[in-house]
């Protein structure tokens, strides 16, 4: 029997410390896109709360229960991050596995917001929850997961471009800090 090996979206790129900021590919996790059928958001939230203890997020929002998060991804769409036996539950929603479709990059450090402000036309400094925007020209979802911690999701095919964009911004900021 053939033995297929797995590869990361970021290939051989490792975590990188640039100035005060760390840019790090996130561990692979189960990502599931959930989109309630028209008119079914309340029923879906009820079902999700019963099964997982978290509801379907409001626009720009994130819901949490333990290790599982549900991140708003657009109109009537959210991504559930973390493993759950979704197939067993007959939710009134589209359930689509995206674990391989999206790459996740963590950006953290005291100047993380300043680095991201080089690439994203939104107020990352003040943001809470999640937003859909672009990084460079890359369509992304960004969520704030701590005062100095952000997670950025992009299409797998652009993972290396995302890393390059953020590493570039971080390098410019670090070099700027070295100036007298």
């Amino acid at each position: 029997m053939v033995n297929l090996k797995t590869a990361s979206a970021f290939q051989d790129v490792d975590a990188k410390q640039i100035g005060t900021v760390t840019v790090c590919p996130a561990d692979e996790r189960v990502l599931t896109l959930i989109a309630p059928l028209p008119g079914q958001t309340p029923a879906l939230t009820e079902a999700m709360e019963g099964a997982l203890g978290l509801g379907f997020p409001e626009p720009g929002g994130v819901t949490r229960a333990g290790d599982i998060r549900c991140v708003w991804m657009g109109r009537d769409q959210a991504v559930l991050i973390g493993s759950a036996p979704l197939a067993e539950w007959q939710w009134p929603a589209l359930i689509s596995d995206q674990s391989d479709g999206w790459a996740v990059l963590k950006v953290s450090g005291p100047e993380a917001a300043e680095v991201l402000a080089r690439s994203m036309p939104i107020n990352v400094r003040a943001m809470e929850g999640a937003a859909r925007t672009q990084c460079g020209h890359i369509p992304i979802s960004v969520s704030r997961i701590g005062p100095e911690n952000y997670e950025i999701m992009c299409f797998r095919s652009m993972a290396h471009s995302l890393f390059r964009e953020i590493a570039h911004s971080a390098a410019l900021l670090a070099a700027r800090r070295e100036l007298s």
Partner: protein
């Protein structure tokens, strides 16, 4: 020359630099202008048109004269204002627009020809012969008149862009701006304070005065320290807010590394886009000159600038100075100079009744300066007494003040004109000229330090209150509160040329002449004389020019009005605006899981796909391509097709949506089956094509072309939201979730059966079957579909396994005499099969044109159906899809060529169609092409004339059916 005991430069830290090849010394804290002045250099540039010798005129970003080129090679930076360039060790600067040297400039003879070079001279002079304009006059004029030049080569310097958001943006960090930031900050608002200088303080950096009970500069330092300690206040120096735009957005240019010799990886400049809920404009004021004969001689400068050079940098332009003004502020310059021990030969005030506020200096009230003498540097001035008699006085420096103009430029960026205030003889911003913007301090005509502090504090407080912050406002320190008294004086009458616009060489005469020639509107005068059109945008000259124009036309100043102030406030390099788009950061790259950088990849949208996969020894793409086609036709080929759009649709009503977006019927498709579908735009033209598979009762997988993946997704979203919001379904893109590979060729099933955990057969997997299979225990999806015309499959696995599966497929194919193939081979095979791509469905073709008219199902409605039935879209005379085969030996049929009747002249009127795709078909051993031909389906067998006018190719072609290889389709079903 340096003045002992003055200035805040660090005299313990000397810096050496070069100007025009000569070594000079300055000090830490100097600008290039102050350092040159300190070293006794007065001549710093040549003027734009007449090449007149010029010296520094101001001490800020408005400088019109002292423009230099810094650095060298690809990094050379032209038109740098010496007044803004901070000095650093090793700085290299060169003067501009002179030949052979600054001191001896041959083009200085332009000045002698001045009578012929007045306003509008080139409109009148260079008219004949007509052809000479482009070939001779314009190049010659451009060479003679100009500024510095770029190197013409790409620079390796980095520019950066960034975004910022705040509650209150304070523009300008002088006394008003500092107070505005402080009061908004204390109220709790999120504040950004920008100043274009390297340090905050504005005018207070240049004045000898007290704020509170301490020197003004101490107050500045204390206040900046206070602001620095506040988390909700961000301070940005060396940052010029360049434009005010809609909805509280501002552009700002930060000069990050112009003050160091080596940026060492840091950006040279950063272009900020700042979104602010409120803004406070505290940009201060700019002093304006008085026009008199030869007032542009090096050594003549603004009185306020002369004071700045003395108080901030401890330099003076010469040993013996005079000051000439029409207002009280000019007296301060004479006072400060005299107190510093500089010889003040005269304080000249045009007002006969003004008291002397300068102390013990020779005072000449009611006098006017009528002329300056000295070519490369001021030697003397001529004064006119109140009785009209004149006398000459020897001085080497003259400070001039015609009053102060509020820096209101940003307040006019949204097309509101300023209003005239007669008491200060200046324009001031109108309230709410920019929504959410307040103006404070000198920028709104409040010139004393006390007024600046008070209005700044008030504006900051109000801005914060607007946003719901409770603000009590900081305590106001005592400060200078002298009234600002002036009597307007624009130009001193007399013979000769009196300069208004120093940067574009516009004189009083030019403006008067423009008025005489009826260019009497201020906008016409500007364009006729070029006044205000230089990089300084007339910061020092606009007011004077329009006052002279008002006089010349007999109107008042408010009626004459100002020209339009537009962004940017100061020049911005295109590189800064385009920051973030250098090299690879220009656009993201999309790589498939099988991406191999060593292959000749081509771009397909943002994707990179291998054009061909060369074997050792293959020298041309055609060799590889021909081999790959034959490999697929005879054995098996592998191609990454992951870039095609994949859309996961779920819900009981998916069939209904598909029936509506596809021309053909899908609702009846059985689970486990796939079908080819065609989509129309609403206007009835073809949008895209692809297969759609029903995975189970409630789940479908649509594929689109690579090129139209985004468009199809957007289309589905629109159709669902606009036409069928109640259908029970949702969809999402899964393009990136699955890596998908075509396995094509007669040995494709043999290869797969060696790989799949359960073998397949024609019975379990007939043509257009789809289903779940297992590869090495991994769940995969298998589709029996074919773009090549061969017995073929596409197999999809979660993307993490993509690279591994591709490698496995290719290595196993190679064992069977096959291998990987690229886009060229894929294209050849689809042309042989007459399959369309977006070369054919290019946006102007209908289903009828491509021979798919009958795919528009009669029994149901679909998007575009009604419009596609318009008579003009189903006319047999339309250009329709055909195959083309050159009949002449060695004939080519390039894409883009046009088709004509065999005997017709190949001109537009006779056009019969065009070629869309072409290839050499290794399977048939000849060139084959696809194209569109009027009434094409009825003309199979006819010979037409193909002409490529661009490449100069003419061939006779036989018209054929589009499908020329295996027309019965036996190979793909077999």
């Amino acid at each position: 020359m340096r003045v002992d005991g003055k200035g805040r430069i660090d005299r313990e830290a000397p810096l050496t630099f070069r100007f025009d090849g000569h070594d000079h010394t300055g000090f830490e804290g100097d600008t290039l202008a102050s350092a040159l002045m300190g070293d006794g250099v007065r001549l710093m540039g040549r003027s734009f048109k007449y090449h007149r010798p010029r010296g520094v005129m101001t001490a800020g970003s408005e400088e019109p004269n002292a423009l230099v080129t810094t650095r060298s090679g690809t990094r050379s930076d032209p038109n740098v204002r010496a007044t803004v360039q901070e000095l650093y060790e090793g700085l290299e600067a060169r003067s501009q627009n002179r030949w052979p040297s600054l001191g001896f400039d041959l083009l200085g003879m332009n000045d002698l020809a001045a009578p012929f070079l007045g306003a509008g001279f080139y409109y009148k002079t260079f008219m004949w012969p007509r052809a000479f304009w482009e070939k001779l006059y314009e190049p010659a004029i451009r060479r003679a008149a100009g500024l510095g030049a770029l190197s013409g080569k790409a620079t390796d310097e980095i520019y950066e862009k960034a975004f910022a958001f705040c509650d209150v943006l304070v523009i300008g960090g002088g006394p008003a701006g500092l107070m505005a930031a402080l009061s908004a900050g204390l109220a709790g608002a999120d504040v950004i304070l920008c100043d274009e200088d390297a340090e905050f303080g504005g005018r207070l950096l240049a004045e000898a005065e007290q704020v509170g009970d301490a020197p003004a500069f101490d107050w500045v330092q204390d206040t900046v320290a206070r602001l620095n300690s506040m988390d909700n206040v961000r301070l940005m120096t060396r940052t010029t807010v360049t434009g005010a735009y809609d909805q509280g957005s501002f552009g700002a240019l930060e000069r990050v590394a112009h003050h160091v010799a080596d940026a060492a990886g840091a950006p040279l400049e950063c272009f900020w886009r700042i979104a602010a809920k409120r803004s406070v404009l505290c940009a201060g004021a700019l002093e304006r000159p008085v026009a008199f004969r030869d007032n542009d001689r090096p050594g003549v400068m603004m009185a306020g600038a002369m004071r700045s050079y003395l108080n901030r940098w401890g330099v003076a332009p010469a040993k013996s100075l005079a000051v000439f003004g029409n207002n009280d502020d000019a007296h301060r310059t004479a006072r400060d100079l005299a107190q510093a021990g500089v010889h003040v030969a005269a304080l000249i005030d045009s007002r006969a009744d003004a008291p002397n506020l300068a102390g013990d200096v020779p005072y000449f009230p009611g006098h006017l300066v009528t002329r300056a003498y000295g070519r490369r540097g001021l030697e003397a001035i001529q004064l006119r007494r109140p009785d009209g008699s004149q006398f000459k006085m020897h001085v080497q420096g003259l400070g001039v003040s015609g009053g102060w103009n509020p820096s209101l430029h940003l307040s006019c960026h949204m097309n509101v004109r300023p209003e005239w205030r007669d008491d200060i003889a200046a324009f001031v911003p109108r309230p709410d000229a920019v929504p959410g913007m307040r103006v404070a301090g000198s920028a709104c005509g409040q010139f004393s330090t006390a007024e600046c502090l008070k209005s700044g504090a008030g504006a900051g407080q109000e801005a914060a209150q607007d946003l719901g912050f409770a603000a009590s406002g900081p305590q106001l320190p005592d400060a200078e509160d002298a009234p600002y008294r002036l009597r307007r004086l624009w130009a001193v009458e007399g013979k000769g040329r009196a300069w208004l616009d120093f940067q574009n060489d516009v004189t009083v005469k030019d403006v008067v002449q423009a008025a005489a020639e009826n260019f009497a509107s201020v906008e016409h005068m500007k364009r006729y004389t070029t006044q205000g059109m230089a990089p300084d945008q007339g910061k020092s000259s606009n007011m004077l020019a329009l006052a002279v124009l008002a006089d010349a036309t007999g109107r008042g100043i408010p009626e004459t009005g100002t020209t339009t102030f537009r962004p940017p406030y100061t020049p911005v390099a295109i590189a800064a605006m385009g920051a973030g788009a250098q090299g690879k950061t220009y656009a993201p790259e999309r790589f498939t899981t099988s991406h191999d950088d060593s292959l000749p990849n081509i771009e397909a949208g943002l994707w990179y796909r291998p054009s061909y996969v060369p074997k050792a020894g293959e020298k041309t793409w055609r060799e590889s391509c021909d081999r790959e086609v034959q490999m697929v036709r005879s054995a098996v080929g592998i191609c990454d097709v992951s870039t095609l759009g994949k859309i996961d649709l779920q819900g009981p009503d998916v069939g209904k949506l598909l029936d509506f977006v596809y021309t053909n019927t899908f609702g009846s498709l059985k689970p486990g089956r796939a079908r080819y579908g065609l989509m129309l735009r609403e206007d009835g033209f073809v949008m895209d094509d692809g297969t759609c598979a029903r995975l189970d009762d409630n789940r479908w997988l649509m594929t689109s072309t690579t090129a139209a993946a985004g468009q199809v997704m957007r289309h589905l979203d629109w159709v669902q939201q606009a036409f069928c919001p109640d259908l029970a379904l949702r969809f999402t893109s899964v393009t990136e979730q699955w890596a998908q590979f075509a396995v094509a060729g007669p040995k494709s099933r043999e290869l797969l059966n060696d790989l799949l955990d359960q073998p397949i057969s024609d019975e379990t997997f007939p043509f257009m079957q789809c289903g779940v299979v297992s590869v090495g225990g991994i769940t995969a999806r298998l589709f029996r579909i074919s773009f090549s015309g061969e017995h073929a499959y596409e197999i999809a696995v979660p993307a993490r396994y993509g690279a591994s599966l591709f490698e496995t497929l290719v290595s196993r194919a190679e064992v069977l005499g096959g291998g990987a193939y690229g886009m060229e081979a894929l294209n050849v095979m689809r042309i042989e099969k007459g399959h369309i791509t977006h070369a054919e469905i290019h946006g102007a073709t209908t289903a009828f044109d491509i021979g798919f008219g009958r795919m528009i199902a009669a029994k149901k409605d679909c998007v575009g159906k009604a419009m596609a039935a318009r008579p003009g879209l189903i006319d047999t005379a339309r250009e329709q899809l055909v195959g083309l085969r050159p009949v002449d030996a060695g004939g080519e049929a390039p894409s883009g060529a046009h088709l004509f009747d065999a005997g017709a002249e190949p001109v537009r009127e006779n056009d019969q169609g065009y070629v869309t795709s072409t290839c050499f078909s290794p399977s048939l051993g000849e060139v084959r092409a696809l194209g569109f031909l009027k009434n094409g389906p009825d003309r199979h067998g006819e010979v037409v004339k193909l002409v490529d006018h661009m490449r100069g190719i003419e061939t006779r072609c036989e018209v054929t059916d589009p499908v020329v290889f295996d027309p019965e389709g036996g190979r793909l079903r077999g």
